[in-house]
């Protein structure tokens, strides 16, 4: 008799959180969690682990190929190689505004897309570009060829002497 009463009492006190509610809650959470995992794994899937573009570090040949006064754009690598006397530099020609390729002239750089202009060292002189064109590290490899490392930005005006 008393045992029966105890059971009855337990059932009554747990009524606000019924078994049905708990199961419904667990099911909802399970479905929601699965959905989140699905979306996340799909995003991971479409994010490539390897890219097939240009390497960040590449050789551009010997210094003799760039006589003093050279300002030349390398299209595939998207850098301008500049030589003044025996000082050399590699400046990005990807516009810092929206990624167009800036034109290289003796007086500086100009972007045809939205009219950003840069001086000879890549500093912004006009237009919407928010930052100057970055300089990349230029070094001499043991075989006597120049190497540019686009993953390493250096401070503007830091010339490499050949």
């Amino acid at each position: 008799m008393s045992e029966h009463n105890d059971v009855h009492h337990t059932t009554e006190s747990s009524e606000p959180i019924s078994r049905r509610k708990v199961l419904a809650w667990l099911t909802s959470m399970g479905i929601l969690g699965s959905a989140i995992v699905t979306v996340f794994s799909n995003l991971v899937f479409i994010k490539p682990r390897a890219t097939y573009g240009q390497p960040m570090r590449f050789s551009i040949g010997t210094p003799d190929e760039y006589p003093p006064g050279t300002r030349i754009a390398l299209g595939n690598q998207k850098v301008a190689v500049i030589r003044e006397g025996n000082k050399m530099a590699a400046i990005s020609i990807t516009c810092t505004h929206l990624g167009c390729i800036v034109g290289v002239a003796d007086t500086g750089f100009a972007c045809p897309c939205h009219g950003s202009r840069f001086d000879q060292d890549g500093n912004v002189t006009g237009g919407p570009a928010p930052k100057p064109l970055p300089w990349f590290e230029l070094s001499m490899a043991p075989n006597g060829e120049l190497e540019i490392d686009k993953s390493k930005e250096i401070t503007a005006g830091k010339w490499f002497t050949v």
């Binding site: 995003l43 479409i46 994010k47 490539p48 890219t51 097939y52 573009g53 240009q54 754009a73 299209g75 595939n76 998207k78 505004h97 929206l98 990624g99 167009c100 390729i101 034109g103 100009a110 972007c111 045809p112 897309c113 939205h114 009219g115 202009r117 237009g127 919407p128 928010p130």
Partner: protein, 443 residues
């Protein structure tokens, strides 16, 4: 006649069974003859899969040509044209940086109607951007986004964005100069998005620069992902029109002054909705019937309230057919006289000067030329958020279903300003910008 034949099949010969075969097949597919009665007209609408999207009856106000100007329908028909021409173009297109441009040239040289199909696809795309925008303007200026149609407005805004994304992903595919630089700029804008900007850009391009991966990704988005989402949202958009009570219309379109005593026309037990007129005297009642009332329309009005609706078959169908023919005719004419532009093949080192996006993105490009973040992300993002949230803030119930209602003067003026500023930016970007995006006079 057909039914009589099938009734007698058991008594008749094998020959008559064979003779009855075609009509037996026909009646199994088309359950109704062409309707001549009201019952037939309603059956036609609700037993045909392709027609059941229509209500059996439609309000006369909905059919007024100058109320909707058919802009939503034109958008749909342009979308269908784009689907058909797009699928056809897919038979010849290869999403490869080395082949795509040559395939464009092949359309000119060695594919029957190749240029014409490409023209139709391109001009329909331009048309769809314009018409969807005009449709949005129509819905705003007639106050049609108000309760209970708020959510359908939200879906409409999403459909407008999808239209823009579809056209944006589409114009990378020819792999010409316009394509390449538009995508370079467009994805760079995405890179300015807060927090996840660079991740979004990397996911879109599949690489750090625009190349083969980007072309493939944009192709998949353009031919599969975005059209599927768009189709789904269009279906919801149409479904909501009916569930939200059809097209918006002014209250006057339904309210008719009652002169007789109302009690006579109301049968006992029927739900009655009575509205007090402006002068407090006129009372209108509506009686709702159950399923047996469907033949005369979903809401059968009793008594002296006249029926303001007409059968969708043929009234609405003919209106739609007219809009369809007009749309197709327009696309065909434009495609016949104007060739879709194809610029030089991609030259990674030399953006065209000036590098201009298609006209509908030139307003954005003009803004971007002042500030990449504010022009490309900040202001457009705010505009979209305001458009999405608009029906939940502008909750007044006046001036619904009327063009340029005086009671909505402030809202309409604000929206008109928004429209004009955007058009002005597009005009500046199109005609007043020359080399290096410098200000030039077109005159």
């Amino acid at each position: 006649m057909v039914y009589r034949m099938s009734d007698n099949i058991q008594k008749k010969s094998v020959l008559s069974v064979l003779l009855g075969f075609p009509s037996a097949v026909w009646t199994s597919v088309f359950r109704n003859d062409l309707p001549h009665t009201d019952l037939g007209r309603s059956r036609t609408s609700f037993t045909n899969f392709f027609l059941h999207i229509h209500p059996v009856k439609v309000h006369k106000h909905t059919l007024r040509p100058w109320f909707t100007m058919g802009l939503g329908l034109i958008s749909l028909f342009l979308f269908l044209t784009l689907t058909v021409t797009g699928v056809l173009l897919m038979f010849y297109y290869v999403p490869s940086t080395t082949q795509a441009y040559d395939r464009m040239l092949d359309l000119r040289g060695s594919v029957a109607f190749g240029v014409f199909l490409r023209n139709m696809h391109r001009w329909s795309a331009h048309g769809m951007v314009a018409v969807v925008f005009l449709h949005m303007c129509r819905v705003f200026f007639t106050g049609s986004y108000k309760k209970p149609r708020e959510f359908n407005w939200v879906i409409g805004v999403l459909l407008f964005l999808l239209t823009l994304f579809l056209s944006f992903t589409g114009y990378l595919l020819p792999w010409d100069q316009l394509a390449f630089w538009a995508i370079t700029v467009g994805t760079a804008i995405a890179g300015y998005a807060p927090v996840f900007g660079n991740e979004i850009r990397f996911l879109l391009l599949g690489d750090t620069t625009v190349g083969q991966e980007a072309l493939l990704r944009f192709y998949v988005l353009h031919v599969a992902v975005l059209p599927l989402i768009t189709t789904l949202l269009i279906a919801v958009h149409f479904w909501r029109i009916r569930k939200d009570g059809g097209m918006s219309r002014p209250a006057e379109a339904d309210i008719v002054v009652s002169t007789e005593p109302t009690s006579k026309t109301v049968s006992a037990g029927a739900p009655v909705m009575a509205f007090a007129g402006a002068d407090g005297i006129n009372v209108i009642e509506k009686k709702r019937y159950g399923i047996q009332g469907l033949v005369r329309g979903p809401f059968t009005k009793v008594g002296n309230v006249p029926d303001n609706s007409v059968f969708s078959y043929p009234n609405l169908l003919l209106a739609e057919l007219f809009v369809f023919i007009l749309t197709i005719l327009g696309v065909l004419l434009v495609s016949f006289f104007f060739n879709a532009p194809l610029e030089d093949p991609v030259n990674i080192l030399h953006p065209p000067n000036p590098a201009k996006a298609p006209w509908y993105f030139l307003g954005l490009q003009e803004m971007v030329s002042y500030s990449a973040f504010w022009g490309g992300v900040g202001i457009p993002g705010l505009e979209v958020l305001i458009l999405l949230a608009l029906p939940y803030f502008d909750r007044g119930q006046k001036g619904i279903g009327v063009w340029f209602s005086r009671e909505r003067l402030l809202a309409n003026t604000l929206f008109m300003t928004f429209v004009f500023v955007n058009i002005l930016l597009i005009i500046i970007g199109t005609f007043f910008r020359g080399q290096n995006w410098e200000f030039v006079s077109p005159f």
